[in-house]
């Protein structure tokens, strides 16, 4: 077959480009360094802000926000991240901020990017809502497979079944100079823990709130989620730490989460009622105001896959 001359330089350039891409990927993966930098957002309070992306070989699953509060008695950690390695590096980063011991880990919900770092904290009591512990047992294996597939070598050594998690039953607790209030909400999953540090006014919402990052809905109950957003909005806070996306000092992220969720549900529901099939719903335009959200198209496709069948069942019954 004759190869047109015109294409040869392009072909060569593409080859070189590909080689460079490969080399860069190999280097990033080999270091396996999450480069966690604690960001102070209030007195005694720090967060690690993850990328507004999907799990990948490049980010190693660092797509999530985790945090810690340095009380006079010791450090309380909120969520442990997507891998054993993340947990270890988080612990290392915390030790550069304070030499106080880590005394407690709180897990907001059962999604893998929030609890798979637990192994790095096995010497510390780890707490989650009782329902969350059940859900980890139910879905943990599937999550682990998925993350090994998507984040590859970053996951090595990560296992969830070896770590004991205790049920959090308290509504409130005073740890030295910090009073923590615990809210058992739901809707993103069937158990979502929201934590308010009354001493600083910092509110950790877990994944009930996303900020400039598209919501994930594999276990969502939108009706319950909206109710939880109302309750979160009623809480008196100064700073809000969403599960994904930037920290804020206003109700913006709550309203944004509600806006997208209401749009998503009403769009899919109406489309089903008007006779659109699933592929037609996937092709519907997404309003411009959501255009800057991270992972928009992919999460929209996922959500249609989760939510369309729910509404379809209603029209066939």
């Amino acid at each position: 077959m004759k190869i047109p001359n015109l294409n040869k330089p392009i072909y060569l350039l593409l080859q070189i480009f590909l080689m460079i891409c490969l080399v860069q990927q190999v280097l990033a993966v080999e270091k396996l360094d999450y480069q966690l930098e604690p960001e102070q957002i209030a007195e005694d309070t720090y967060v690690f802000i993850g990328a507004k992306e999907d799990f990948s070989y490049e980010n190693g699953g660092n797509i999530v926000n985790t945090g810690f509060i340095v009380t006079e008695q010791g450090v309380v950690v909120i969520d442990s991240g997507p891998s054993k390695r993340y947990g270890q590096q988080m612990r290392e980063a915390i030790s550069k901020v304070t030499n106080k011991p880590i005394i407690k880990i709180l897990i907001t919900h059962h999604h893998p990017d929030h609890f798979l770092g637990n192994q790095a904290f096995q010497d510390v009591p780890i707490y989650a809502l009782a329902e969350t512990i059940k859900l980890i047992k139910r879905d943990g294996d599937g999550f682990l497979d998925n993350l090994y597939r998507m984040s590859g070598p970053w996951m090595s050594g990560t296992d969830f079944s070896v770590v004991e998690i205790k049920a959090l039953v308290l509504k409130q607790e005073k740890i030295a100079n910090h009073t923590l209030k615990y809210f058992k909400f739901g809707g993103h999953t069937s158990a979502d823990l929201v934590i308010l540090d009354e001493s600083t006014g910092v509110l950790f919402t877990g994944d009930l709130v996303f900020h400039n990052r598209t919501l994930t809905t594999p276990h969502a109950d939108p009706e319950n989620w909206l109710k939880s957003l109302d309750k979160i909005k009623a809480i008196d806070f100064n700073i809000i730490v969403p599960g994904h996306g930037e920290v804020a000092n206003n109700i913006g992220p709550i309203e944004q989460t509600r806006d997208y969720l209401v749009w998503l549900e009403s769009t899919i529901k109406q489309a089903v009622e008007h006779g659109l099939d699933m592929t037609e719903v996937l092709a519907l335009p997404i309003p411009e105001r959501f255009g800057s959200f991270g992972v928009l198209k992919r999460e929209y496709i996922r959500s249609v896959s989760h939510r369309y069948p729910v509404y379809e069942k209603l029209i066939f019954n």
């Binding site: 072909y11 593409l14 008007h274 592929t279 069948p309 066939f316």
Partner: protein, 254 residues
């Protein structure tokens, strides 16, 4: 699929770039199984890769048991049969659709076991196949998992029950219907294949509007969407059979 595989596939694309440029007879999806699909499913008959044949589906399978797929054929006359297949599925043939008196549009859901091209091949009366399609990325597990009805054990209570809805939109009538059936592939341990084999879509005057032949990769409790001429005599009937001889005989009421 991870980044390395993406890069690899991209590299494959690049390496075939010049070839694709030169002729349209080379598989634009560069599937390793194209040659075998061509002989096994299209009988080595003449093939044209044709943009008028469109598969619409997401580029990845969030739920490998239920991947939505629509096929649409535009401006192509004398269509005899539309065959849907997935090159790298353990069972490749998904469905055959013969639109006798109906628009060449059909949507349904499929089970996939791994990343694969999904294609529609349209045979026209001149004996050639017009082929369109795209790659679907999937982590797998769709074909080797037991159906939910099988797992719950209650599938027989509703077997072959049909629910439907219809709409009138811009001179066209649309029907969507669900047929209750486990659609077991036979690839899950200890569960024999058990699937709907075909059904005819028949109008009230007895004329067959379309014939749909279904294979194991069609999702459990299959849902189909068809666009029909709104003057069609109602009610429409669905008449078919599964591989165990159970009959489908349902009227679409509304």
């Amino acid at each position: 699929m991870n980044k390395f595989q993406h890069t690899f596939i991209f590299a494959l694309y690049v390496s075939c770039f010049n070839f694709c440029f030169a002729t349209s007879q080379v598989d634009p999806l560069d599937s390793p199984s194209w040659e075998s699909m061509h002989s096994k499913i299209l009988n080595n008959e003449p093939v044209i890769f044709d943009d008028r044949v469109q598969i619409s589906m997401p580029d990845f399978a969030e739920d490998p048991m239920n991947v939505p797929v629509s096929v649409q054929v535009n401006n192509l006359e004398n269509i005899e049969e539309i065959v849907i297949f997935a090159d790298l599925n353990p069972i490749q043939k998904v469905l055959s659709f013969q639109p006798f008196h109906i628009k060449p549009y059909l949507s349904f859901r499929i089970k996939v076991e791994q990343s694969t091209p999904v294609r529609a091949a349209v045979r026209t009366s001149d004996g050639s196949w017009h082929v369109g399609g795209s790659w679907l990325e999937a982590a797998g597990g769709g074909c080797t998992a037991p159906s939910q009805g099988r797992a719950a054990g209650n599938w027989h209570e509703t077997l072959m029950n049909v629910s439907s809805r219809s709409w009138i939109k811009n001179e066209l009538g649309r029907v969507r219907f669900r047929i209750m059936h486990p659609m077991d592939t036979g690839l899950a341990d200890g569960i024999p294949e058990f699937y709907l084999e075909y059904f005819d879509v028949v109008d009230a005057g007895g004329s067959v509007l379309a014939k749909i032949t279904t294979y194991q990769p069609i999702s459990e409790n299959p849902v189909f969407t068809l666009d029909i001429n709104k003057e069609i005599l109602k009610p429409i009937n669905l008449l078919g059979v599964d591989n165990n001889g159970n009959r489908l005989n349902a009227q679409i009421e509304n």
